[in-house]
């Protein structure tokens, strides 16, 4: 077996299509996970206690089981409860649910890290509850959670590879199919590693840029 770059060039169109599906599922899945995660964290903080406890239990289950199993259950087990999903929607839903559990914990930590005194100061100058959340809590929280949120987004890039097992035509599925067809396993795996690494670096770079932009907000010792 020898490394054959021509193989990559020959299949470039389908590789690029796989790459775009990967990026798309990652973007939609991450945005969905951030939104749902935020709703979970807010409900746990501001909502009634039983709701918070129920959501806490769900988060524990999602964090306590492998993404692969969750995806299998959703795709192959879904029809048993009347949930028939095509691979792509199933993948997006799975990614969103999985990511939201982690994001909700990140946001929960963020809410708790905002010093109580900052909220008290806002109460003292007359801001109401809604204004406090919008003007103080959310902005402060978002800068506190940025590093861990970027980290989670990076993890989700790599988790998109799992979607290949339910035949979502993303990068891993396309490239490993090419690899199997031509017995070019080394090339395909090498290429895959390279692509994911590049995506992760890009995400990390954007995260660092955002952090730099926010660095002057950084909480002082108080």
């Amino acid at each position: 077996m020898r490394f054959d770059p021509a193989l990559i060039i020959h299949h470039l169109p389908s590789i690029l299509s796989g790459l775009s599906v990967t990026i798309l599922t990652w973007l939609i899945g991450t945005i969905g996970a951030v939104l749902v995660g935020f709703v979970i964290a807010s409900s746990r903080r501001f909502g009634p206690r039983p709701l918070g406890m129920a959501l806490g239990a769900i988060v524990e289950v999602i964090r306590g089981t492998p993404f692969l199993i969750q995806l299998f259950l959703l795709y192959f087990g879904g029809p048993y409860i009347g949930l028939f999903l095509d691979p792509l929607p199933a993948g997006l839903l799975g990614l969103t649910v999985y990511g939201s559990a982690y994001f909700s914990e990140i946001f929960r930590g963020g809410f708790e890290a905002v010093p109580v005194g900052h909220i008290e100061a806002a109460e003292c100058v007359g801001l109401n509850r809604f204004q406090i959340v919008k003007r103080i809590l959310l902005p402060e929280m978002s800068m506190l959670v940025l590093p861990s949120a970027v980290n989670m987004a990076i993890l989700l890039i790599k988790e998109t590879a799992v979607l290949s097992i339910i035949t979502v035509p993303e990068l891993t599925m396309i490239v490993s199919a090419i690899g199997s067809e031509y017995y070019a396993f080394v090339e395909s795996l090498f290429l895959l590693a390279l692509f994911y690494w590049a995506l992760v670096e890009l995400c990390g770079f954007l995260g660092r840029k955002a952090e730099e932009k926010l660095s002057h907000f950084r909480l002082s010792a108080s």
């Binding site: 010093p115 005194g117 900052h118 008290e120 100061a121 806002a122 109460e123 003292c124 100058v125 007359g126 801001l127 109401n128 204004q131 003007r135 103080i136 902005p139 402060e140 800068m143 002057h216 907000f217 950084r218 909480l219 002082s220 108080s222």
Partner: protein, 263 residues
Amino acid sequence: MSHPAVTIRGLHKSFGAVEVLRGIDLDIPRAQVTCLIGPSGSGKSTLLRCMAFLEETSSGSILIDDAPLGFRTHADGSRTRLPAADIRAARRKIGMVFQQFNLWPHMTALGNVSEALKTVQKLGRREAEDRAMVQLKKVGLAERADHFPSQLSGGQQQRVAIARALALEPEIMLFDEPTSSLDPELTGEVLNVMRALADDGMTMVVVSHEIGFSASVGQKIAFLDQGQLLLTGTPTEVFGKPRHPRLDQFLETYLDRGAAMLL
């Protein structure tokens, strides 16, 4: 004497089983500086926080300008909690300055001072910032208006916090150990701002370990011990000899904080 700015009657406050304030009766005179002093754990910060409604009292009443703060007390002694809007209205007369400054780190000095003018008083951005600048000038920080809290020294942060409270034109300013988290060389600038405010005739309540400041600027001293008001009076009455033995004991621990002049 004119009507007190704050009237506190029979105030009790417990945290769980611990009773921190045990029946406080205190009048805060208008246009004067009242200093709350006492050993740590005596309840002086809690009392101040009750006046800002940051702590809900367990029983008793606080009147701000004759309007009840937080609870309405009925003839039979029972209390009803007032609606949130009423509480915000009563609080509007009060400005609070914290030990930890509590500036919002994502806003500049100007942003911190103008925030409530924009969101609460609904002023336009230009007008809110003009009014905020007036307050920043007053505390000597106009040229730092566009700095974020993390770019300011502790003393400057506390002066911004004072400007933030002043921007809403409160009738009463509460200071909760305003210099306790500052390096000694930075306390002077904050105390100077407070002195200037006192000279302007602002009603002030100050919880402070700066005994020297309390004795020289304070017009009324309230000495708390174990949740009770042990002594109240003018600095001469409270600090003059013969002194209450408990106060003597307390002052001895403060020799290095400017209390030496009193002993």
